[in-house]
């Protein structure tokens, strides 16, 4: 049986248990503050939150650890990275080991934060939480950042959720978002305010929501909002179209539906290669056709929304509201067509924030995001 190899220069030395780990962190803190005193620059032990990151691949765990390092100035935390091999293979010893480090967050060497790796092997579903609870700093809010698809029905996921004030997910990573998102919505409903839910994918959608809203700020176009007949949302896939991640696009549809009071009629089934086609009823009963479809786009991350087209009618006119990414993906162009004639067009920068900025924003929020939760609920009804 191969031993687990953990890169101790990155994750710090292995500790024999929670008490030993806390002692080691205290020792490191002392060493740093002694050093800092000599230089006349005391280091603050700063933590404003506990952040548990759950990852199943070392690569994801490292990526998360680097994000946390970038976040440390805004959100110095006790960061507990759980790297779990959820394999249930026979003959693997169930084992949980811990490593810790005290990285310095900034060039000025004023703030340090605490990084702990919890490496779990074998099926530790029943005992993982017992290793994490004692590592939490008392009194601080607990954020649980779950990379990948949350394993619904798993005990450790439920245990960790009970500890958490906020669950951070990224539905871009979900293999079958149309299945997983509704379940997440249900968990969040059941929790009834015990924890908030954050989807980084929702944060990525913000500029798209802003521009779609801005169309209807124009008084002359406002009335088209009640006359929408069709919506098309494109999302990026890679060249061979194998991995389909429609969550972002679906969230956009859920958002429109929840804001405009649309009810589901029927799912007209998976359309072309991974796309979806819905028939939805407006509050006045008229039918809206919604198409979500994958498109190959260079330079976009898989699943990112690539374009939106909203068709609407009023008593006198047909309108189309179109948003497209420019080929450089950093800009988007919004166009309004009335009876097929271009009336308005504007190109503007499209921020595509790194994951660090996304999560940095989310970590500052403790309440729940009602707009998101309503969009999810609408999506549950549609799916």
């Amino acid at each position: 049986m191969a031993e687990v190899v953990v890169d101790t220069t990155f994750w710090g030395a292995r500790q024999s248990g929670v008490a030993a780990l806390e002692r080691e962190l205290t020792r490191l803190r002392r060493a740093q503050s002694a050093h800092a005193r000599e230089l006349g620059r005391p280091i603050a032990r700063a933590s404003v939150l506990n952040l548990i990151v759950y990852a199943e691949r070392e690569e994801h765990a490292r990526r998360a650890a680097r994000s946390i390092a970038d976040l440390a100035l805004r959100h110095p935390s006790r960061a507990i990275v759980v790297l779990a091999d959820r394999g249930r293979r026979e003959g693997i010893d169930k084992q949980i080991e811990m490593h810790c480090r005290l990285p310095i967050a900034d060039g000025a060497r004023l703030v340090c934060y605490e990084q702990i790796l919890v490496r779990a092997r074998g099926d530790v579903d029943d005992r993982l939480a017992s290793a994490l609870i004692p590592l939490l700093v008392p009194d601080l809010p607990v954020f649980l950042w779950w990379t990948g698809t949350p394993p619904l029905g798993s005990r450790s996921f439920a245990d960790l959720l009970r500890l958490s004030d906020r669950l951070v997910i990224d539905s871009a990573d979900f293999a079958r978002p149309e299945m997983t998102l509704p379940v997440i919505a249900r968990i969040s409903d059941d929790a009834r305010g015990r924890f908030g839910l954050t989807d980084l994918n929702w944060t990525r959608l913000t500029p798209w929501r802003e521009i779609a809203t801005a169309f209807f700020d124009v008084p002359a176009w406002r009335l088209f909002l009640d006359g929408i007949t069709g919506v098309r949302v494109g999302f990026a896939v890679d060249m061979d179209g194998r991995d389909i991640h429609p969550s972002q696009a679906l969230l956009f549809v859920g958002w429109l539906a929840s804001r405009l009071g649309w009810r589901p009629l029927e799912t007209l089934a998976p359309s072309e290669a991974g796309g979806l086609l819905f028939a939805i009823a407006r509050p006045d009963g008229a039918r809206v056709m919604v198409r979500v479809r994958p498109r190959f786009e260079r330079g976009l991350d898989e699943g990112d929304v690539s374009g939106i087209r909203i068709q609407a009618t009023s008593t006198r006119q047909q309108a189309e509201f179109v948003v497209k990414r420019q080929p450089d993906p950093r800009h988007q162009t919004a166009t309004v067509l009335l009876d097929g004639e271009r009336r308005w067009e504007r190109t503007m920068p499209l921020p595509s924030p790194a994951i660090v900025e996304l999560i940095g924003e989310e970590l500052s929020i403790l309440g729940s995001d009602r707009t998101y939760e309503e969009a999810l609920d609408a999506l549950v009804e549609l799916a």
Binding site: V18, T26, R127, S130, D139, I365, L366, G367
Partner: protein
């Protein structure tokens, strides 16, 4: 064991555990000359002890002082004290003192009886009832913090405090102490002494001086003011639990009833949560929630004073989502320190408020290891300073509080609620505090 073997055993232990390393062999040698070992299984043993002590007096030409330290199971105290009397082990000239470990007695009557026996040989000012919690630096610091600072005491009362929580959490199970623990349970093992002492230090009135009489007088007043829990109030004010099998730090551990030496149907409690009231001018109407248990997820002793919320909130509900009431937390162990929780603005556009901790870490501020509690206390006993020891009237009042609860439980049909090892106790304990619209701290 011979004197020599005893010295070797101590040498190894001191070498391993001493705060100052390496051990200076020269210093050790001169110290070890004064170490002697006598086993006293029966009367002959006590006689041998007397002869050894007399020889030492002769050899050293001194009228040596004598400190008796009873590091024995509590049932042996009575016989030992009587033997000290019968065999005239006190000596004639120097002082004689006795140190007794907790618990002193197993209820009010037995404590009184034991006290009378001790008093046949030792005066009260010669009796040092040890509660090692009182020897901890951070416990003494409770008094320093409260009474040497001008800013805390004015708000240390019912006008500003919403409630107080005291937690004594252990991760260990009963280990080899089943024989004792089966009889004691968490109530006698922790609540009667450590927990009530912490409660007294945090709630007592300012003593006039830091000496044994003034400090202990104030503590006794707290115990007298502690509202007794009657049998019919047990269900709402007291919770007992017992650990079932589970996990500690990811390692499977057996349930209490599966531990060696424990009865398979044992009703002994390994967890206690209580809602207490100190009925006096300062604390009227302010609940003290206390809890202790074995096989809890984390080793932690702390006192949290939670303050009332601001009277009027200017900020929107969304802005306040991350705000929690102010709390002052005194961490006794591990990671000794003090932290103050308050709301601060999150650096974003607009107002968003988040609870943050201002943290004082003992270890990082004073770069020395604090002396062990026993170092402090044994030295105090040698010096004759009883401030940090428990006086008999304290013990008596502590039992007067504990007895009705213990006997109420013994008579009630239901046993302790089971909780999985590695969790924060039974759900009944959550209900105890949640009924009042409050919750246990995330310790």
């Amino acid at each position: 064991m011979s004197h020599e073997e005893y010295r070797e055993e101590l040498h190894a232990a001191v070498g391993q555990y001493s705060r100052t390393k390496p051990l200076n062999e020269e210093v050790w040698r001169s110290f070890a000359e004064h170490l002697h070992f006598v086993a006293t299984a029966d009367d002959a043993g006590y006689e041998e002890l007397r002869r050894t002590l007399e020889q030492l007096d002769l050899a050293l030409g001194a009228h040596a002082n004598r400190l008796f330290y009873l590091a024995t199971p509590p049932p042996a105290y009575k016989a030992i004290v009587e033997a000290i009397g019968e065999h005239r082990l006190r000596g004639e000239t120097g002082w004689a003192r006795i140190v007794v470990e907790k618990p002193f007695g197993h209820d009010r009557a037995s404590a009184l009886e034991l006290n009378e026996i001790v008093h046949t040989v030792f005066r009260e000012d010669e009796v040092f009832r040890i509660d090692h919690y009182l020897g901890k630096e951070t416990v003494q610091n409770i008094l320093v913090m409260r009474f040497s600072n001008g800013i805390f005491e004015p708000i240390w009362n019912r006008q500003y405090v919403d409630h107080v929580q005291i937690t004594v959490a252990e991760t260990i199970g009963v280990a080899e102490r089943a024989g004792y623990y089966e009889q004691a349970g968490a109530m006698r093992d922790i609540v009667q002494n450590h927990l009530l002492q912490l409660l007294a230090l945090v709630s007592m009135e300012p003593p006039a001086a830091f000496d044994d009489k003034a400090v202990r007088d104030e503590k006794v007043k707290v115990f007298r003011a502690l509202r007794r829990i009657a049998a019919d109030e047990l269900a709402t004010n007291a919770v007992r639990g017992q650990y079932a099998r589970g996990f500690i730090e990811g390692v499977p551990v057996p349930g209490y009833r599966e531990e060696p030496g424990v009865a398979p149907n044992s009703q002994t409690e390994t967890y206690v949560a209580l809602k207490l009231w100190v009925d006096n001018w300062r604390w009227e109407g302010i609940p003290f929630y206390v809890r202790t248990g074995k096989r809890l997820p984390k080793q932690s002793t702390e006192i949290a004073i939670q303050f009332r919320v601001a009277p009027h909130q200017l900020f929107s509900r969304d802005a306040l989502a991350g705000l929690e009431p102010n709390a002052l937390v005194l961490r006794i162990q591990p990671d000794e320190g003090i932290s103050l929780r308050f709301g601060a603005k999150v650096p974003v556009q607009g107002i968003r408020i988040r609870a943050v901790n201002m943290d004082f870490d003992y270890g990082a501020s004073f770069m020395v290891d604090a002396p062990d509690a026993y170092e402090t206390l044994i030295l105090d006993a040698l010096r004759g300073d009883a401030t940090l020891f428990t006086r008999h009237d304290e013990v008596d009042q502590q039992w007067a509080f504990v007895d009705p609860i213990a006997s109420g439980w013994a008579q009630s049909p239901g046993g302790p609620a089971l909780y999985e090892a590695g969790t924060w106790g039974p759900s009944e304990a959550d209900a105890l505090i949640e009924r009042d619209g409050r919750k246990w701290r995330k310790s």
